[in-house]
């Protein structure tokens, strides 16, 4: 009985498999039947974004409300706000089921390019021109909304750069100055370590947080060319500058520049800024959206905080005005055509209005517009904006910019660098292998 039972069980597996293999030849095509929501009868535009609460909600919702009130297109936009955490997965599920929303935001970069390649975003060069958005948004913002020479999205609400927040009280206490070179930064760190203070608050469980150190080190050491070359295949991630950045990170780990257990600290659980609030850490390299985080968490603490851009590497002639970050943060893409596209774009164009920009500023954001300077009053935001405007170029976060599967390898290996469980050579070789594989498949 038992033996028969098992025979049958294996048989059942075999049946399932043959069934599938037999079926796969015939119906493989229609698994991905595309969205049909563009039907002309429907006058509702669905718009997905991450504006579930607070500042994001206020900034993203503004354009929708303004559009619904003022438009004479006959369309109405229905905004669907989705939790940031699983937003990307959610979008994939929707797209693969042919239920892609008419408008949706993304962080641009690699995933946006996938959406475009798969036909879920329309080029909007003409509309962009027509609404004069070229003159309103910063060039870097428009550049991040573009792919293969066409504009595919409208930037929305924030300029965010990688930079170092620091506690001015702690700096004053130990007589420290804002460092302008890496050796000065290291001197600052050494002083802090001697006094029992962790130089950098960092929670590296989600991996992208530590990756900012790597990105900044590479950019200051060698500029952006080696990275661009590595991505397009003319260069390599095994180039010296990547190796140097990896070694630097490991040197800093060993010197105690980061909190203990850095790879298990959870950024989403606030474990990095916790160290800042407890004043056991003095600096934090992170995205400048943290101005909003600090100021809403504790206005008193925010008084103690200041910001500087990542310092220059001694002896390197790399352009120090280069910035890592995003100019726009969220970008609206359009998955509709004709009249509907016109209406959807009209809605998105409200992000460029003066009123919308004011809403963004009021919510602690820096609008990615040329006019932002006259609006922003917060001293740290002004510094960030200055850095953004002065940048010869701004590289989008690597983990956004790279194709997702390559980005994943970068994040994994970079985390291992922090854990000292992988040498820089191994990390670079792995990343290069992933990049080559991706380029070969393309």
């Amino acid at each position: 009985m038992k033996k028969r039972w098992m025979k049958l069980m294996s048989l059942s597996v075999a049946v399932v498999m043959t069934m599938s293999l037999a079926a796969c030849g015939s119906s493989s095509g229609d698994d991905s039947s595309q969205d049909s929501s563009g039907s002309s009868e429907d006058k509702t535009i669905t718009y997905w974004n991450i504006g579930t609460e607070g500042a994001d909600k206020a900034a993203l919702e503004y354009a929708v409300d303004a559009f619904n009130e003022n438009t004479d297109s006959g369309y109405q936009v229905e905004m669907v706000a989705i939790q940031n955490d699983n937003y990307k997965e959610r979008l994939v599920v929707a797209m693969s089921s042919g239920e892609c929303p008419d408008m949706y935001t993304s962080w641009s970069g690699g995933p946006m390019n996938e959406y475009i390649d798969s036909g879920f975003a329309q080029p909007v060069d003409d509309l962009y021109e027509e609404y004069g958005l070229n003159d309103i948004f910063m060039e870097a913002a428009t550049a991040q909304a573009s792919y293969n020479g066409h504009i595919y999205a409208v930037p929305t609400y924030n300029v965010s750069l990688a930079g170092i927040f620091y506690n001015t009280e702690i700096f004053d206490e130990y007589g420290l100055e804002v460092p302008t070179t890496l050796s000065e930064l290291e001197a600052v760190c050494d002083t802090l370590v001697e006094n029992g203070i962790t130089p950098f608050a960092l929670a590296n469980a989600p991996k992208w947080t530590g990756s900012m150190f790597y990105q900044c080190l590479v950019a200051r050491y060698a500029g952006l060319e080696p990275f661009q070359a590595a991505v397009d295949g003319s260069g390599s991630f095994e180039d010296e500058c990547f190796q140097w950045a990896g070694e630097k990170i490991q040197e800093w780990v060993q010197k105690g520049y980061f909190p203990e257990g850095v790879n298990s600290l959870d950024e989403d659980a606030g474990q990095a800024k916790q160290l800042m609030y407890q004043e056991t850490a003095a600096m934090m390299l992170t995205g400048s959206w943290y101005t909003g985080t600090f100021s809403t968490d504790s206005p008193e603490f925010y008084e103690k905080i200041d910001w500087f851009s990542f310092p220059a590497v001694d002896g390197s002639d790399a352009d120090t005005s280069i910035q890592i970050g995003t100019i726009g943060d969220q970008f609206v893409s359009f998955n509709c055509e004709g009249e509907k596209l016109d209406a959807a774009f009209e809605c998105a164009s409200y992000y460029a209005s003066d009123e919308a920009q004011q809403v963004m500023v009021d919510n602690g954001k820096i609008p990615p517009t040329k006019n932002a300077e006259s609006l922003v009053t917060d001293p740290i935001s002004k510094k960030v904006l200055e850095a953004a405007n002065g940048a010869s170029s701004t590289q989008l976060w690597w983990d956004q910019y790279l194709a997702p599967e390559v980005a994943q390898v970068h994040l994994d290996t970079c985390q291992e660098l922090f854990g000292l469980t992988m040498t820089p050579e191994e990390a670079d070789a792995q990343l290069q292998a992933a990049m080559e594989e991706y380029n070969a498949d393309k």
Binding site: R4, W5, Q83, V93, Q278, T293
Partner: protein
């Protein structure tokens, strides 16, 4: 005689010490959770995690309960009750012929059902997502019932079949001689006798369904149709940095199940023992 008494005393002492140790391991994380749920957002960061709250403030709980929490709770209850009832009933139905009747294909059907345990459910997401849209149940709690029942079926049939096999055949044979029909036999004899197995399964599947989130996350969208595990996500998004608030949400999510278990465990055990005595 005396020696064995001492020996048994010592082993009891050891057993109790170990039991208490197990108790501590089981509940310390809970104490951590409940303690911190009363704190103010900054108190936990500055005073450390095991300090008693400066004030036993219910503010966090109030905020949670005033948000959409009660709706989530109600949705969870409705989904759980319906899915669990359907699941246990159809699983018992299927286990009866599988454990008791000789017919062609019995072994095969059983193997196929049990082999389904091996399926990584996450890959069924997209087909089920599409299906729920085709059936016009997407973004309602009804979309969850089908998948929840299906996820529970293989394990339930597996356990119930082996359970029913262990019920002595004599009782059934006696009933058959009395002219009892198969259907009557199922409702009058097998179902009551299977109670212990059903209770275990009710706990297992109930907990799984109560806590399931990947399907709930994918198949529902509006706040009106979401279930409790999503409350944790939603609050975490909204109060990502307010750890005590998250702890309050976690406590409130776990509480209904804990209360239910405390009250029902007596009945559950009774059900189990009743089945055993008859068996």
């Amino acid at each position: 005689m005396k020696k064995t008494k001492i020996k048994s005393r010592i082993s009891w002492a050891i057993a109790i010490i170990l039991a208490v140790a197990g108790l501590i391991i089981a509940i310390v994380p809970f104490i951590f959770m409940i303690l911190n749920s009363f704190k103010d957002k900054f108190e936990m960061l500055t005073n450390g995690i095991f300090a008693l709250p400066e004030e036993w403030s219910l503010a966090n709980y109030k905020t949670v309960l005033e948000a959409n929490f009660p709706r989530y709770f109600l949705n969870s209850v409705v989904v759980l009750v319906i899915s669990l009832t359907i699941l246990l009933f159809i699983a018992a139905c299927a286990s009866y012929p599988l454990s008791r009747m000789k017919f062609k294909g019995n072994g095969f059907i059983y193997s196929v059902i049990v082999a389904c345990m091996a399926i990584p459910v996450h890959i069924t997401l997209i087909p089920i997502f599409r299906m729920s849209q085709a059936m016009h149940v997407y973004d309602t709690i009804w979309a969850l019932i089908g998948p929840y029942v299906a996820i529970g079926v293989p394990i339930s049939v597996f356990i119930l079949t082996s359970f029913m096999k262990s019920i002595p055949k004599e009782i059934e044979e006696a009933a058959e001689i009395d002219g009892c029909s198969r259907f009557k036999m199922f409702f009058k004899i097998m179902l009551p006798m299977a109670k212990p197995g059903l209770s275990t399964l009710a706990i297992y599947n109930g907990v799984t369904m109560w806590n399931e989130y990947i399907f709930a996350y994918t198949l529902t969208q509006s706040a009106d149709s979401r279930t409790l595990p999503l409350a944790v996500w939603d609050f975490r998004g909204q109060y990502s940095m307010d750890i005590p608030m998250i702890m309050a949400v976690l406590t409130l999510t776990a509480l209904p199940m804990i209360i239910l278990f405390i009250f029902a465990q007596d009945k559950l055990i009774k059900g189990m023992t009743a089945g055993a005595v008859k068996g």
